[in-house]
């Protein structure tokens, strides 16, 4: 099964919200829409769900043109960031509601609801009402409804964003298994690159109403076509700096200069380099050899990793390292760059070299 978007766009009061977009989402894996708040993820989902009118283009679900069909007739499911359940109904009735609307017989409804409830561990709560559930259980109810409906397409719009951190981690692990083998095309919107990496078979990177790159997740993470794609797919933000290339030497202003034999084929001139924060470490390693002198601005600790934002004469960068690393804010601290991990972009942001697997 597939959802094929041909040149679809959205214009509201003269403002373009989604620029003409053509993408084919397939079943069998998660299709992730990754981008910051306001990049157009929700807008795109609403177009596919038929909740907003399109300015141009057509949408096909499994070869059938659904452009003119209403949301009700597209046979899709949508799970929101906010927990949307019917407050006056029990969990059972909430899960069963789309099946009842479809006119399914009672015994079959019973079977489907119980199956979905088992997958999401909601069996003991089937007779409770949403307000008696925790946030995680409420969102599981919404997910169960989407599963029980067995629709052709399931749209998940940041479904984990409002859950506690650990709960998010657990549900994220379960999600792919829930939809595996069901045949539905799953489209999952998120603003977290890590979620895209963990869930996504394919990822569409979005920025300002544009799909900037679409492809297998691991591939577009390692081989971004543009600087924008590299920026969207990095958290903490990817480090960018202006460099000049002469022969096989790259020079970053007064900050550093190193030998980049791998990139020697590109013509001499000015470029942007981009390097992910985990390739910049506070300790030298066999790979991280190019020393940078930085002044520590801000440090953060995420439990198992520490990051430091540091200032250099030419750019402010971030380093991300395993474990807890003691920094003093304001101190001068050396950082070490892995030159083989650098991506080289032209001044207008197109990939020139780097980014091999």
């Amino acid at each position: 099964m597939t959802i094929a978007l041909h040149n679809i766009s959205k214009v509201v009061a003269g403002q373009t919200h989604i620029k003409p977009t053509s993408v084919v989402f397939e079943t069998g894996h998660f299709n992730v829409l990754l981008g910051e708040t306001g990049a157009g993820k929700t807008s795109l989902i609403k177009l596919m769900a038929g909740l907003d009118p399109m300015a141009t283009g057509t949408i096909e679900i499994d070869g059938q043109d659904v452009t003119k069909l209403t949301t009700q007739k597209r046979n899709i499911s949508l799970v929101h960031q906010f927990f949307v359940n019917y407050p006056h109904m029990t969990v059972f009735d909430n899960i069963a509601s789309p099946l009842k609307v479809a006119g399914m017989v009672k015994s079959e409804i019973q079977g489907r609801v119980e199956e979905a409830a088992d997958i999401l561990q909601l069996r003991p709560m089937l007779h409770r009402r949403p307000h008696e559930l925790s946030g995680g259980q409420q969102q599981r109810t919404a997910l169960a409804r989407a599963i029980a409906k067995e629709s052709r397409a399931v749209f998940l719009d940041e479904p984990l964003a409002n859950l506690d951190y650990k709960l998010r981690e657990e549900l994220r692990e379960q999600l792919p298994e829930l939809f595996a083998g069901r045949g539905a095309v799953v489209v999952y919107a998120t603003s977290e690159p890590e979620e895209a990496l963990l869930l996504g078979g394919a990822t569409a990177l979005m920025d300002d109403g544009n799909v900037v790159q679409f492809g297998p997740t691991a591939e577009i993470y390692r081989k971004p076509q543009t600087l924008m794609a590299a920026k969207v797919f990095s958290d903490p933000p990817i480090n960018v700096a202006k460099v000049t290339k002469q022969g096989s030497t790259l020079t970053m202003g007064q900050s550093a200069s190193w030998d980049a034999a791998k990139m020697k084929d590109a013509p001499d001139g000015t470029y942007h380099i981009a390097v992910r924060p985990h390739h910049v470490t506070p300790m030298p390693t066999p790979a991280n050899t190019v020393a940078l002198k930085g002044r520590v601005l801000v440090t953060e600790l995420s439990g198992s990793e520490s990051s430091a934002h540091f200032a250099m004469p030419d750019a402010d960068w971030v380093s991300l390292a395993h474990g807890v690393h003691p920094y003093e804010v304001g101190e001068d601290h050396p950082f070490y760059l892995d030159p083989s991990a650098c991506l080289l972009f032209s001044e207008d942001g197109h990939i020139i070299a780097g980014g091999a697997a």
């Binding site: 910051e36 708040t37 925790s134 946030g135 506690d164 951190y165 650990k166 709960l167 981690e169 603003s191 977290e192 690159p193 890590e194 990496l197 963990l198 691991a218 993470y221 958290d235 903490p236 933000p237 992910r276 985990h278 601005l297 801000v298 440090t299 953060e300 600790l301 995420s302 439990g303 198992s304 934002h309 991300l320 395993h322 474990g323 807890v324 003691p326 804010v329």
Partner: protein, 357 residues
Amino acid sequence: MAKITLSDLKHSYYPNPTGPEDYALKEIDLEWSDGGAYALLGPSGCGKSTLLNIISGLLTPSNGRILFDDKDVTDLAPNQRNIAQVFQFPVIYDTMSVYDNLAFPLRNRRVDETAVNTRVMAIAEMLEVTDMIGQKAAGLSPDNKQKISMGRGLVRDDVNVVMFDEPLTVIDPHLKWKLRSKLKELHQKVRATMIYVTHDQTEALTFADQVVVMQDGEIVQIGTPVELFERPAHTFVGHFIGSPGMNVLPCEVRDGGAFFGEKLITLEGAIEQGSGAAEIGVRPEFVTLGDAGLPAVVHKVSDVGRHAVVEAKVGNTSVKAVVEGDVPAQGTTTHLSFDPTKTRLYRDGWIATRAGT
């Protein structure tokens, strides 16, 4: 600024609590020193917000006393406690300008206008909102509104404590780190006692010098970020802090040693006498894959970009390992070894090995 003492604190939302399960806070004894940065960390429903509201005076505890600088404030109303609080959702006075919002707590206390002006401008400078000082607060973006809420908390220099109740909830993910680091910086400048409540490990560990981890109304560990990561006193702390959390592996204790998968596992030190369900705790960062050690079958490999998380099965038990570089294929057999200095025994959840012997 003040030292805060919580003594034998208990709280129940029921008028006549019968057992420990009726208590939202079970028994809290704590002492926080003057000028420190503290975090209360735990999942939703662990009692951290209850504790916060008790300290601020919005709730009166069922039992126990609260002392500010050894002065009993248990029966005082919030406005008599001389505290400041920043809420989950930005609270701003819509009709007032940014300046008047910041001045509000001072004017209510009849501070003279010249002193108000100096203080407000100083805080505005720290928060980087000087350029919007004359604007109406209603028109600001959510992150600026939350900055103003923080500013109102920090504007009085005589407060005993400033409290933050999940203050970054409504902030866009890509702006969070800026505010997170801003708060840390503010603490270093203002040096007031600050308490930060959150379920997000990054926020807690980044902000606080000392983190209080709570579960089910009880404190499970108090420690520095390094201590919580390196040597969790309880399996819950190991699980909750770090991503992925610590491996907790059921094991058998006999002849003074711990056996997992029929193999003797070397621990950090001697096992303390005791009984209760025994488990081995080791973080995925300290599990290595290789040719020797505990045989395991690779069950799942998740590529997070900067490293991979390999989930391997020893019998029916999953063990996660963080792997950089080459990863084994799914279904192949590998061997696990645990870093003995970071491997510990837990009994009924609590640590049961002596360190470093």
